[in-house]
Subunit: 184 residues, 2 copies
């Protein structure tokens, strides 16, 4: 713990967890809570799966059906909060991102990498969130035109480590991710 006061090491650790989450389907860091604001101002939160984590570009990637309420929310307010709580590490990772919704030819490569068995996540009929008469009164055809990538350009990272003494730091793209300690 001789780097307890090393901001860079703190940030390195968080990115390691995110990268591990992309690589390991069973990692808790794979499944951030993705929070948005609905057009009428209501906070919304749901689980997403991290598909990519590119530290050099400060970018995360999430994939979604274009017909979900998070896309509706992002079209109205393109800012998202991503939240990961890792009990074993006693670490909270809070991310703020500006989100671009990519579709069409821009997601050809990403679609090509989606396993056939997972493509049914994009195309539910009736549309997600539609009331249905019975529990299974829906179909899940794979629908390429419903596939979208959420390109999450990080603007802010807030880390809290619940060690014997709490450590909290904030990092911002505007200061080159150098970071500063905060009172927890």
């Amino acid at each position: 713990m001789n780097d307890v006061d090393d901001l860079g090491a703190f940030l390195d650790g968080a990115w390691s967890h995110l990268e591990h989450g992309v690589a390991q389907a069973t990692s808790l860091a794979r499944y951030p809570t993705f929070a948005t604001v609905s057009p009428d101002g209501v906070p919304q939160a749901r689980t997403v799966a991290l598909r990519r984590a590119d530290r050099d570009r400060g970018r995360l990637e999430v994939q979604t059906d274009i017909e979900t309420e998070k896309v509706t929310a992002l079209r109205h307010n393109p800012t998202a909060a991503l939240h990961v709580w890792l009990p074993e590490a006693d670490l909270q990772i809070r991310l703020t991102a500006r989100v671009t919704i990519l579709t069409g030819a821009a997601v050809d490569d990403a679609w090509a990498r989606v396993p056939a068995t997972s493509r049914v996540s994009y195309g539910t009929e009736p549309l997600p969130g539609t009331p249905i008469a019975q529990v299974y009164a829906y179909e899940k055809p794979a629908n390429r035109s419903r596939f979208a990538v959420l390109d999450c350009q990080l603007t802010h990272i807030d880390l809290v480590h619940l060690d014997t003494r709490h450590r909290r730091a904030a990092f911002s793209v505007t200061d080159g991710w150098r970071g500063k300690w905060l009172a927890p």
Copy 2:
């Protein structure tokens, strides 16, 4: 699984997880992600601890330092989203709540139940989120006047069970929590 199409059983299960979370400090359901909207419209998310779950009153309780940004957000927009993802149960619990910030005499009983060792969570100096020169350049005195209870009156519950076939249902206080199935 003969109650797979039983909305009431689905909701019962979710409440069981929340109640278990209150009782068991190691349960993942103890630590929802609590999402709010900042005064400038940015979604925010952080971990909180569930202190009470009262199904009869459709109410959850969270405790906080009054000087945190979530209180600032709630004073501006008193709606919160609470989110729990339970990987072992393959269950996502999404809650929407109207939040009342309780302080003063209204929280005397709650404060009396906070263990002495936990009271230091209410009173950090300088205020939470203040930049500090070194990692541990803060104090954590217990400060009764900073203790607040977030009374979360639930308005909406959305459940997704990632079973062999996905099950999703929405429940609302306005329909007496009867609920309806939704396309997932």
